[in-house]
Amino acid sequence: MSGHKLTQLKALEAESIHIIREVVAEFRNPVMLYSVGKDSSVLLHLARKAFYPAPLPFSLLHVDTGYKFKEMYEFRDAFCKEIGVDLIVRGNEDAIAKGMNPKEFGVARCCGALKTQGLLDALEEGGYDAAFGGARRDEERSRAKERVFSMRDEFGQWDPKNQRPELWSLYNGRIHEGESVRVFPISNWTEMDVWLYIKEENIPIVPLYFAKERPMIERGDMLIPYYEENKDQLLEGETPKMIMSRFRTLGCSPCTGAVRSSATNMTEIVAEAAAARRSERETRIIDHGANSMEDKKKEGYF
């Protein structure tokens, strides 16, 4: 025994860097999906580590639904500028112009148009053959069966029964013209690992993850952030209240809830994550259908 030991976070980091480098070595035109959330922040940090001292050999792609929190847009623009990465922003402009929204059209249709179709269009436009995503297997039960290299047909669709076995750390990057892969370098990370790593590495994240008095609408178990410009989201009898709260996960503002919290720094967030009794996806309205994530992935979602 030579006494060398890697902590579990450093072991996960090494695995993720290995995966990111394999993709750059084996694919013609990779891109990194960047959603501005905490998992994306970790993914981007790992990518910077992978190629240091060289700059990132690929662009970031933000598929924008137009419904992200304004703090997310501010953070995205400032941070990407600061670290000097190439950011591409795309969205399903057609659907946005037609006023697609979850209230009128339903959550499934809105997600399908703005996220899934927006993503597929952007990937096709860029001609990318590999797209990195920050999905984790611990997030959701269909994701628990996802590969690191997730094969997609020419329509970007996932077939859970037709995925390649992944042995050792030998990833098969051979694809036919038109096919692509979605690559998930942080597959083996848990929510807890992500928070711990952000804390350890001092990775900048959107301020919405930290607790603050914020105007909120209380609806059943959910805390829905209230914005002056969207007064019409109030239902009868609801009034916004200032509530000490934060977000465990960030998505679109109409469909992402906050949680009551007093965690204003990373140490407190980690403690809260460790004591959490409910999964982070619970605050995401989109996940709550019977096979919701599995269906979305089959249609081309990441």
């Binding site: 902590t7 290995h18 240091y52 619970e282």
Partner: protein, 426 residues
């Protein structure tokens, strides 16, 4: 119940596990039990799989359909089977675990090979009522081939045999005898009831005759790695790092993951296949340069001299004595839909090298039940045999038994691009 782990950044190591077993051995239930007892599953995830709908609180684990927690795909829930490898995560104050949950059904053996390839320990589920089944033997044999460092036999459903010690002892003896034939020595047998939780995270009160460690205690005490950093250095080059920026116009680094061994600044390295040598100038990481690095770190190495090195090459210590191999003898587990056929060309991916290869011969196929070697003209899916491979170009490889990273490869069908074979160099 174990305590929550608040500080996973301490000297907490990662242990990768795999569970295998026959269809009804209760594997999903065991994993569900581990998740519940280590709080690796959240309340809303548990509520989604409770037996009685409409409840909003979970009073005890027995109210949860534990298997439903791990069967993630709609088709699995419809058919009540597990189709695909699922990865689960849990932690104790001592360790973090990644567990691959592999289907036991015969046609899905390839998934078991997949899950087992990265694991340091395997848990084989045996139903105490049925004892050692043919499928148990098949899995044990494959685990032996995969060089699984530690085997844990979970003799489950002890509640169905009145927690009878003699039943446990009989199965333990059968497994010990079978493993001896396979050359597997490190075997741990634990009686348990995944449904009740006995001997999983807690001892329970039903088996006072068993004095060994519980399953979770065993997970916490197994060695994480088989000393891969004490092995000779193997550094397969993934990519060249050439920033070509104003600050770094001439920088040339070699990026890769240390497959085994350690490397220090000042070490004399040889690049294979060119055979050219140089001295390690820097070990570069985003967090600063290192004096020394070890497996499985991902690093960038710069050398004192400019030598031509590209992806697929391997850096080793100059006294490694590694020889190129153009012909390889390997055990292969076939995982493709179309059978393996001699004279057919495949792509082989070995470390960071992908090249054409031809199967020149099938030496034998192993009958999983009798372990007899028999002649064969092809290997169908889920079959195991020994083959001869001829490579287009020589590679630098180790025996799988000596080095899991440089001794393993995958075969890729050159028409479909699917991964069809898992190979271990003999």
């Amino acid at each position: 119940m174990t305590e929550l782990n608040l500080d996973l950044t301490k000297e907490i190591e990662l242990l990768r596990l795999v569970t295998v077993g026959s269809v009804d051995d209760g594997k999903s239930t065991l994993i569900g039990r581990l998740l519940v007892d280590t709080k690796g599953a959240f309340e809303d995830q548990l509520l989604a799989v409770r037996k009685k709908k409409g409840e909003t609180k979970i009073a005890s684990a027995s109210e949860i359909d534990l298997a439903m927690l791990t069967d993630g795909l709609a088709a699995e829930r419809e058919q009540g089977i597990t189709i695909d490898v699922a990865y689960r995560y849990f932690a104790t104050p001592k360790r973090k675990f990644i567990m691959a949950d592999c289907p036991g059904h015969e046609q899905y053996t390839r998934n078991m090979v997949t899950g087992a390839s990265t694991a340091s320990a395997a848990i084989i589920l045996v139903d105490a009522r049925n004892g050692v089944m043919p499928q148990t033997k098949r899995h044990t044999h494959i685990l032996g081939l995969l060089g699984m460092p530690h085997l844990i036999v979970a003799i489950n459903k002890m509640d169905m045999v009145n927690f009878d010690q003699a039943t446990f002892e009989k199965i333990r003896q059968d497994m010990t005898d079978y493993c001896a034939k396979q050359g597997i020595k490190d075997l741990i047998c634990i009686p348990m009831s995944a449904l009740n939780g006995d001997m999983v995270a807690v001892r329970g009160e039903n088996m006072p005759w068993y004095e060994g460690a519980t399953l979770l205690e065993t997970f916490e005490s197994l060695p994480v790695l088989d000393d891969v950093d004490a092995q000779p250095l193997r550094f397969p080059v993934q990519l060249l790092n050439r920033p070509q920026t104003a600050e770094l116009p001439d920088y040339r680094g070699f990026m890769g993951t240390i497959a085994s061994g350690t490397v220090k600044v000042g070490d004399k390295l040889t690049a294979l296949p060119s055979g050219k040598s140089s001295i390690v100038k820097e070990i570069v990481t985003f967090d600063g340069n290192l004096e020394e690095a070890f497996s499985p770190q991902s690093i960038t190495i710069t050398l004192q001299d400019e030598i031509d090195i590209s992806r697929g090459d391997m850096l080793v210590h100059s006294d490694s004595g590694m020889e190129p191999k153009k012909e390889i003898t390997a055990n292969v587990c076939w995982i493709g839909d179309e059978p393996l056929e001699p004279k057919k060309k495949y792509w082989i991916k070995h470390t960071t090298n992908t090249l054409k290869a031809m199967v020149t011969e099938i030496d034998f196929r192993t009958d999983i039940h009798s372990l007899e070697q028999e002649t064969a003209d092809q290997l169908a899916m889920n079959e195991i045999g020994q083959i001869q491979l001829k490579l287009l170009k020589p590679v630098y490889a180790d025996h799988y038994a000596a080095n899991r990273s440089t001794g393993s490869f995958i075969l890729i069908d050159s028409f479909t691009n699917n991964t069809v074979g898992a190979g271990m160099i003999v």
